[in-house]
C-alpha cells in the first residue's frame, strides 16, 4: 500500500534514445489527434493522452481501402480489414503542419505494396522535413508497417520473410537518422527470426505485434462477414499471443520493444514491460472510449504504487526467466 509521502513512481521511459513521459503510445489507425481535436476540442488533448503519436499508416499512392463491412466486434476483441485507406504521401505531407499542435514526438507510420514504396515515402518525408517547413510537428522517426494483414501481397509479405525485412530495414536505415521502428506481424512461425533481421539491419526498435489474421462469418449466411473476407484480430483476445512474442523476442535480442496487442488496463502494460517491452501501444481499447489511454496510464501508476516499485525499470524483463 502507499505510504504517506511515498515518492510518486516515475513512468518516464527512454526508447532508443527518445525520452517519453510515460510508456503509452497509440497504435496506428486507432486514434486520430486531428479528428479528436475537431470533435472534442483541443482541450480534450491537453494533456496529450499518449507519450508519442503514431498517425494512421500512409502509403505512396492514395488507397481507397477495402470494401465494407470493414470491422465488427468479436469475443474479447474486434476484427478489422480497413485496408490502409489513406490519401497518399503528398496529401499527407500537405496536412502535416496541422499536426504542429501535437506536443509529443510524432512517429510516421509507413505502409506499402512494394519495398520501394516504403523507401520513397520515407525519402519524401525526410525531404519535406529538411526543407524546414515552418510549423511542422516534431517527427521523431518512423514505424515501418511491414505487417498489415489486410493489403493482399503487400506489407505482410515483407514482414513474414527475414530476408525481405532485412533488406527493407537496411535501405530505410540509409535514408534517415531518425528513430526507425519496424512493426512486426504475429502471423509467422518464428517471430524472432524476423525481429533479428530487422534489428541487425539497423532498426532502433521493434513494435510487436500487429493484428492476428482471422476470419469471422456472417451467422445468417455462413459466409465471410468482412468485405475483405479475412481481417486482423485485435483486442484482449490477442494479448496472450502478443505477450508470448514480446517475451520471445526480448529473450533473444537487445532491441527495444514497443509491446502491443490487447492492452486495456494498467496491469496489461506492466505485463508487457515484465516481458521486456520498453514502451507499449494502446489500440482497440481506444474504441471503448476516449478516456482509455488516460485511465490506463493512471492505472499503471497505481500498479507501481501498489507494488512499491519506483519505476518501470524495476519490473522490466522480470518474466524473462
Amino acid at each position: 500500500m502507499t505510504q504517506p509521502g511515498a515518492p510518486v513512481p516515475d513512468l518516464a521511459v527512454t526508447l532508443a534514445g527518445l525520452r517519453l513521459e510515460h510508456p503509452v503510445l497509440n497504435a496506428s489507425g486507432t486514434f486520430d489527434a486531428l479528428e479528436t481535436a475537431r470533435h472534442y476540442g483541443p482541450e480534450a488533448l491537453a494533456p496529450f493522452p499518449f507519450s508519442a503519436y503514431v498517425p494512421k499508416t500512409v502509403t505512396l499512392e492514395r488507397r481507397d481501402g477495402n470494401p465494407p463491412p470493414r470491422l465488427t466486434e468479436t469475443a474479447a476483441g474486434m476484427i478489422n480489414a480497413v485496408g490502409l485507406q489513406n490519401p497518399g504521401i503528398e496529401a499527407y505531407l500537405d496536412d502535416l503542419p496541422l499536426l504542429a499542435f501535437v506536443p509529443v514526438p510524432v512517429l510516421v507510420n509507413i505502409g506499402g505494396r512494394r519495398p520501394g514504396d516504403y523507401l520513397e515515402v520515407l525519402r519524401r518525408v525526410e525531404e519535406r522535413l529538411a526543407a524546414g517547413a515552418a510549423g511542422s510537428p516534431q517527427v521523431a522517426g518512423y514505424e515501418l508497417n511491414v505487417s498489415c494483414p489486410n493489403v493482399g501481397r503487400g506489407g505482410l509479405a515483407v514482414g513474414t520473410e527475414p530476408g525481405e525485412t532485412e533488406k527493407l530495414t537496411a535501405a530505410a536505415r540509409a535514408l534517415t537518422k531518425r528513430l526507425l521502428i519496424v512493426k512486426l506481424t504475429p502471423n509467422v512461425t518464428d517471430v524472432v527470426a524476423v525481429a533479428r533481421a530487422a534489428a541487425e539491419a539497423g532498426a532502433d526498435a521493434l513494435s510487436l505485434v500487429n493484428t492476428v489474421r482471422a476470419l469471422v462469418l456472417d451467422p445468417q449466411t455462413l459466409t465471410p462477414f468482412l468485405g475483405n473476407r479475412t481481417g486482423g484480430l485485435s483486442g484482449p483476445a490477442i494479448k496472450p499471443v502478443a505477450l508470448r512474442m514480446v517475451w520471445e523476442v526480448a529473450g533473444a535480442l537487445d532491441a527495444p520493444i514497443i509491446g502491443m496487442g490487447g492492452i486495456a488496463c494498467g496491469r496489461d502494460v506492466l505485463e508487457f514491460v515484465a516481458c521486456g517491452a520498453t514502451a507499449v501501444a494502446v489500440g482497440a481499447a481506444n474504441f471503448s472510449g476516449p478516456d482509455a489511454p488516460r485511465r490506463i496510464v493512471a492505472e499503471l501508476r497505481a500498479e507501481l504504487v501498489g507494488r512499491g516499485l519506483p519505476d518501470l525499470a524495476a519490473v522490466r524483463g522480470r518474466a524473462l526467466v
Binding site: L34, E43, D64, P67, R70, L71, T72, A284, N286, G289
Partner: protein
C-alpha cells in the same frame, strides 16, 4: 486527414463531449426501450440526425454502440434502443438511475434549413432519429408527414415512441396499418412537389426511396448505419461506397444526400439508429 473540417486552431469550441450520464426515464415499447438521459452538454450541441457513441456497461472489452438521437428536450436526450444482440440487450435492460458513458453528438445530421415540407420515410429501428427531426421542423412551422414501415405488429410497437402529427404506418404482414412498405405508403400519401424526402432504414428501403425520389423528381437525404469503432473519423472502419468513393458514416455522414448514394451504395448499411450488431449479426431487413 480529411480536409473537410477546419483544423483545430481555427475551431474555437468542441462540437461533441463525452461523459457519464444518468438514465432518468425509461419507457418500453414492446421489446424496445426509450431511454431518457440527463445530458445537458450533449443536448446543447445536438442537431437532428446526429448520433452518440454509447459504452456498454461492465468492464470487459466491447466496442461502443452508435445510437441515433431520438429527440432532445431541454437538458435531456432520448435514445431509442432495439435489442438486436447481446450488447444492445444490455442497454435495453438499463433502468432509471443507471449511468452510461456517452460521447457525442457526432456526425452530420439532416440539413433542414431549406426544407419547406418534409416526408420522413423510415423502416424498423430506422425510425429512431425522426422525432428530433419532426420537432425541429414543427417548431419552424414546416409541414411534416411520416411513413414508417415495420415487419409486423411487434416491431410496429416502435411507432408508440413518436408524436408526429401526420404519421402513417405500414407493416409487411398487414397486421398494423397499411399492408406494404414505408416507401409504397410514401408514394401514396405524398407531401407535394416541394417536399424533401428524409429517409432512414435498411438497405432495401433506402434503395427503394432513392429510386422513387429520383423518378418523382424529389431530392432528399438518407441516414446510414455501419459497424463503427471510433465514431469520430480515426479508424475508417465504417465507410460506405458513394459516388465520391468510400466515405465514413461517422464523420462524413451518417446523413448523405440521396443522389450521392449510387446503386448499391447502401447495401452494407442497414437499419440506422440502433447501432451495429454487437455479435456480428447483420441487422435484419424490415422490408
Amino acid at each position: 486527414m480529411n480536409s473537410t473540417a477546419p483544423p483545430p486552431a481555427e475551431q474555437t469550441c468542441a462540437t461533441a463531449t463525452s461523459g457519464h450520464y444518468r438514465v432518468i426515464e425509461r419507457r418500453s415499447f414492446g421489446p424496445y426501450a426509450l431511454l431518457t438521459l440527463l445530458a445537458p452538454d450533449i443536448a446543447a450541441l445536438a442537431a437532428p440526425g446526429q448520433f452518440v457513441m454509447v459504452a456498454l456497461p461492465g468492464t470487459q472489452f466491447r466496442l461502443r454502440r452508435p445510437l441515433s438521437l431520438h429527440s432532445v428536450g431541454g437538458e435531456r436526450v432520448r435514445l431509442l434502443v432495439e435489442p438486436r444482440g447481446e450488447g444492445t440487450r444490455e442497454l435495453v435492460e438499463l433502468g432509471v438511475a443507471d449511468t452510461l458513458a456517452v460521447a457525442g453528438p457526432l456526425g452530420h445530421g439532416f440539413p433542414l434549413e431549406r426544407v419547406r415540407a418534409a416526408l420522413l420515410v423510415a423502416g424498423g429501428i430506422g425510425v429512431a432519429p425522426f422525432q428530433f427531426v419532426a420537432d425541429v421542423l414543427r417548431a419552424r412551422g414546416v409541414p411534416v408527414t411520416a411513413t414508417f414501415g415495420f415487419r409486423d405488429e411487434g416491431q410496429a410497437r416502435l411507432a408508440g415512441a413518436f408524436e408526429i402529427d401526420h404519421l402513417w404506418v405500414a407493416t409487411d404482414d398487414g397486421s398494423v396499418g397499411r399492408h406494404g412498405t414505408a416507401v409504397e405508403l410514401a408514394r401514396e400519401v405524398g407531401a407535394g412537389p416541394q417536399a424533401s424526402v428524409l429517409a432512414c432504414g435498411p438497405a432495401p428501403l433506402l434503395d427503394a426511396v432513392r429510386t422513387w425520389a429520383s423518378t418523382a423528381g424529389l431530392s432528399g437525404y438518407a441516414s446510414l448505419e455501419a459497424h463503427m469503432a471510433c465514431g469520430s473519423g480515426a479508424c475508417h472502419g465504417c465507410v460506405v461506397p458513394t459516388r465520391e468513393g468510400y466515405l465514413r458514416v461517422c464523420v462524413d455522414g451518417p446523413v448523405f444526400a440521396l443522389d450521392l448514394l449510387g446503386s448499391g451504395a447502401s447495401t452494407d448499411a442497414s437499419a440506422p439508429g440502433a447501432g451495429l450488431a454487437p455479435d456480428g449479426a447483420k441487422p435484419q431487413a424490415a422490408q
